[in-house]
Amino acid sequence: MAIAKKAFVWGLFAAGGTVAAIVFPVLIVLFLLLSLGRVPEGLQFGSIHAFAQSWVGKSGLFLVLSLSLWHSAHRLRTVFHDFGVRSDALVAKAVYLAALVGTLITALFLFKM
């Protein structure tokens, strides 16, 4: 892989990792609260829908999800190698495609909001 391309791939991985490291604990706490039946005010339909409809909300959700998906895909690629799967070209195609599909689905739902 050319160095410039490598730097780009790694840059997205690093950005996604930083975003995930910072935001995902909050996300998991929110899922934990929902599982306990405690719905915070900001997650009632009216407020969270208004947030997801605003441009700030849309771009925030899109950035967090797309970068995190990319981070996850890139790391999963090396994890496959670590677990003994040596067909990297195929693995790379599969994981990056999955991240791309996730990103497109996210964009679609945000667009439909």
């Binding site: 690093a14 990792g17 930083t18 995930a20 490291a21 910072i22 935001v23 995902f24 604990p25 909050v26 996300l27 998991i28 706490v29 929110l30 899922f31 934990l32 609260l33 929902l34 599982s35 306990l36 039946g37 719905v39 915070p40 005010e41 900001g42 997650l43 339909f45 407020s47 969270i48 829908h49 997801a52 959700l61 999800l65 995190s68 998906l69 981070h71 996850s72 895909a73 890139h74 790391r75 999963l76 090396t78 994890v79 670590d82 677990f83 003994g84 040596r86 996730g102 689905i105 996210t106 739902f109 945000l110 439909k112 909001m113």
Partner: protein
């Protein structure tokens, strides 16, 4: 050169059990599964939200479960230990900051990450009415 060099047999699939350092590495790397999982859960939440108030309320009641609560709690601790804290610890190694001749000390980068994390978390919890 010897014609039959001795090659230490190393398992391709279970090599990380050989040392604590490798175990920590693999425990850290598989956090990508958690990132992927919570991305999928969040995208599902977005789908429900886009479906309108009824879809959203169905989603909310489907989330309510003691089993899921236990799972999320375990995931939270695992994610904090092996993703968030490890990521912050490694940040100065992966992204050193050069200031002219000198390097920004590692501790400053780590502290900045923790500071940002606490700030963003408090802001999000405040915004969502959790605190």
């Amino acid at each position: 050169m010897s014609r039959r060099p001795y090659i230490r047999p190393v398992s391709k699939t279970t090599w990380y059990f050989r040392s604590g350092r490798y175990k920590r590495y693999i425990l850290r790397e598989i956090t990508c599964l958690l990132v992927g999982l919570y991305c999928v859960l969040t995208i599902r939440a977005l789908a429900a939200l886009a479906a309108g108030p009824e879809g959203w309320n169905v989603f909310l009641s489907a989330q309510r479960s003691p089993g899921l609560a236990g799972l999320h709690a375990v995931m939270l601790v695992y994610f904090l230990v092996y993703m968030t804290f490890d990521w912050f610890k490694l940040a100065p190694k992966a992204m050193p900051v050069q200031l002219g001749e000198k390097k920004l000390p590692d501790r400053a980068i780590v502290i900045a990450h923790y500071g940002l994390w606490i700030l963003v978390s408090l802001m999000l919890f405040r915004l969502l009415g959790v605190i």
